[in-house]
Symmetry: C2
């Protein structure tokens, strides 16, 4: 918790600040940076043989951890925490220090981009995120800027650089962004939606306008993810949280097509390594074949899809990540262990599996239940990778 101690004494300037305290975090050169003590995640994403299944957890840095809640309080607001590279680095490291995880994922939010576009992100107590200035007509869409990921969003690559230095090669660092469709839902609706009335009315009645919005979102996301790779992200994940709300045809035209466009624009080689991309559409289990042709190295699966059936459907084209029901972590540790065994058995033997939940960990989960899951993966997964 070295950074934690420093953070109180010398808080980083917020949003847009580019000056890092390199004296405090000595830069040890590209050679040292690219060495990894544990590269299981990267090997599994590349479908290479591994001695056991790597494991990380969506939202592993977050509210279920008491040490996170302390820093969150210190930061004042959720976005202040995202925009302070030192604090973001600190909470990114918390789960890696507590559990035997095989990856860190940058603590951030998918709504950093709409915020940098000037849409005025805020949070109502007890509610989800809101945007003060949703984008609902042609004029608003055409005036929408593509933010500079190295300037307005510079706090994200800054946090990645800090985190890479603090990780010192223990595990790889994952960068991420929302998918163009998912960002567009928030940009048009202005809030979390169950129904997506506004964006779907646009989709059905003014598809060309929605395509313009999605193009801008895709350009912004591509630039943003490339800035993360430049700063040291060693794998990337694209979260298409709301793709599953679309009809099968609309999914292909309005979500998958733009995720593909993002993936095509990504820097895929850095520090002598391939940068793998994980693409996750929540409730996208029906479309795995098409998702496997997206250019992604791996697909994230929610718990509604059988890993074994998914593997048969996508063949050797992609690795698979997932997919324990996050609610299984409410159960007793012995039950969690049984469910981990079931998930591993569902995938079967051989390479190409990254263990994860099927969605983010719920804030009320006990950390020792998370630990039970991770330890079960460590203990039970080697049998699925026996060398021949």
């Amino acid at each position: 918790m070295r950074i934690a101690e420093r953070a109180g004494a010398q808080p980083m300037p917020r949003h847009g600040a580019r000056v890092l305290h390199y004296a405090v975090f000595p830069y040890s050169g590209i050679t040292a940076l690219s060495q990894l003590d544990n590269d299981l995640l990267l090997r599994a994403l590349n479908r290479e043989p591994v001695p056991r299944t790597p494991v990380w957890i969506m939202r592993q840095a977050g509210r279920y951890l008491p040490e996170y809640r302390r820093i969150r309080e210190q930061a004042g607001s959720f976005m202040a925490l995202c925009q302070n590279p030192e604090l973001a680095c600190q909470v990114t490291l918390q789960p890696v220090e507590r559990f035997r995880l095989d990856a860190a994922i940058l603590f951030s939010d998918i709504l950093t981009i709409p915020e940098a576009m000037g849409l005025g992100l805020y949070f109502e107590p007890g509610e989800g995120p809101r945007l003060k200035h949703p984008v609902r007509d042609e004029r608003a869409i055409d005036q929408l800027p593509v933010p500079d990921a190295r300037d307005e969003l510079g706090y994200v690559p800054d946090a990645i650089r800090l985190t890479r230095r603090e990780l010192q090669g223990r595990v790889p660092l994952i960068g991420f962004a929302g998918s163009p469709w998912t960002l567009a839902t928030y940009m048009v609706e202005g809030e979390s939606s169950r129904e997506f009335r506004r964006i779907k009315t646009l989709l059905y009645d003014r598809p060309e306008l929605l395509h313009r919005l999605l193009s801008k979102a895709a350009d912004s996301i591509t630039d943003y993810l490339n800035a993360q790779t430049e700063a040291g992200a060693q794998a990337l994940m694209i979260f298409d949280t709301w793709g599953g709300a679309l009809s099968h045809e609309a999914y292909h035209a309005f979500s998958l097509a733009y995720a593909k466009r993002v993936i095509k624009g990504l820097t895929r080689q850095r520090e002598g390594r391939h940068i793998p991309v994980i693409f996750f559409t929540k409730n996208g289990g029906l479309w795995l074949e098409a998702m496997a042709d997206s250019g992604a190295d791996a697909l994230g699966l929610d718990w509604s899809t059988s890993l074994g059936e998914a593997r048969q459907r996508v063949g050797e084209r992609v690795a698979l990540q997932g997919n324990l029901d996050p609610c299984a972590l409410y159960a007793r540790p012995e039950t969690i262990r049984t469910e981990v065994a079931r998930t591993l058995a569902d995938y079967g033997t051989g390479p190409g599996h990254v263990f994860n939940l099927g969605h983010g960990v719920h804030p009320e989960i006990q950390p020792d239940h998370v630990d039970a899951m991770i330890e079960a993966v460590h203990e039970l997964s080697p049998a699925h990778h026996e060398q021949r």
Copy 2:
């Protein structure tokens, strides 16, 4: 609107009332009852040839209709409306009188059974349904009664008898119930849930207890649906609204297995006709093959599943019902027509398709948009049923 006029003058006694005003609704004998002017729905559900695709709409009797809102106000509360056979009959008929629909579906609610079990259904303004006495431990599950569908729930068959008489064979009348799993989610959570924390903790930690609860729910639902058939329902639909929240393995064990048990217990022959059963799991598109073996005659599909792909997967085992995105009805009538054409084309030609939305109609939809959808089905579907 004959009943509407009478209802004000002589309201039916509520809940449990069994005495019907047969003098007011002359009973014309089983022969007349079993004749149907329009049996397109029944033929399509049986995969028999039809000259055009039949159409009805989930929640077609409901808040989007101004004439419904007037009766709803008159009834005082939503459950008072469900429990008053005359008023329930009246709102059931409203969409049939307004639109060229091929079926009526009884106006009721899936929570009538938990209410009859004594769990104390109520509605908070602006919220979903709530239960005062959720069932959360072994004692509560074991003490749960199986209500008598001809006594405590007698207002439902009463409403069906009235509606059959008022329909006078114009179109068939559909009865319905929630699936055991879906009812159990409300019974355990006590309200609509996004996460299903309580019931899933039960599922993972005490599966045998959940199985006991689901058995009671299945018995209650079977009896309830059979009482509906006896009273004159000509087709049945089972709504598994929350099956899609389960993992693939849990879906089979805790939702599908109990839906099958219900279907197996149903009276399938009445008035010289087969009583077709439609089974709908929202977000169940991954499991269609297994659902097609449930004993149902037809599967309801939400809009995430391609009708054409679903048809290939289930073959000739079942008919398919669906699946326009309910949000498409927010679009302009010309757009709605295009989306109807797309949906019909997705299914292709030949028998076995019932047009519907992929979920219930939203309360803010304009009735003339619903009309545009129905008229487009009338106009465009005959080309998909050309006689050879």
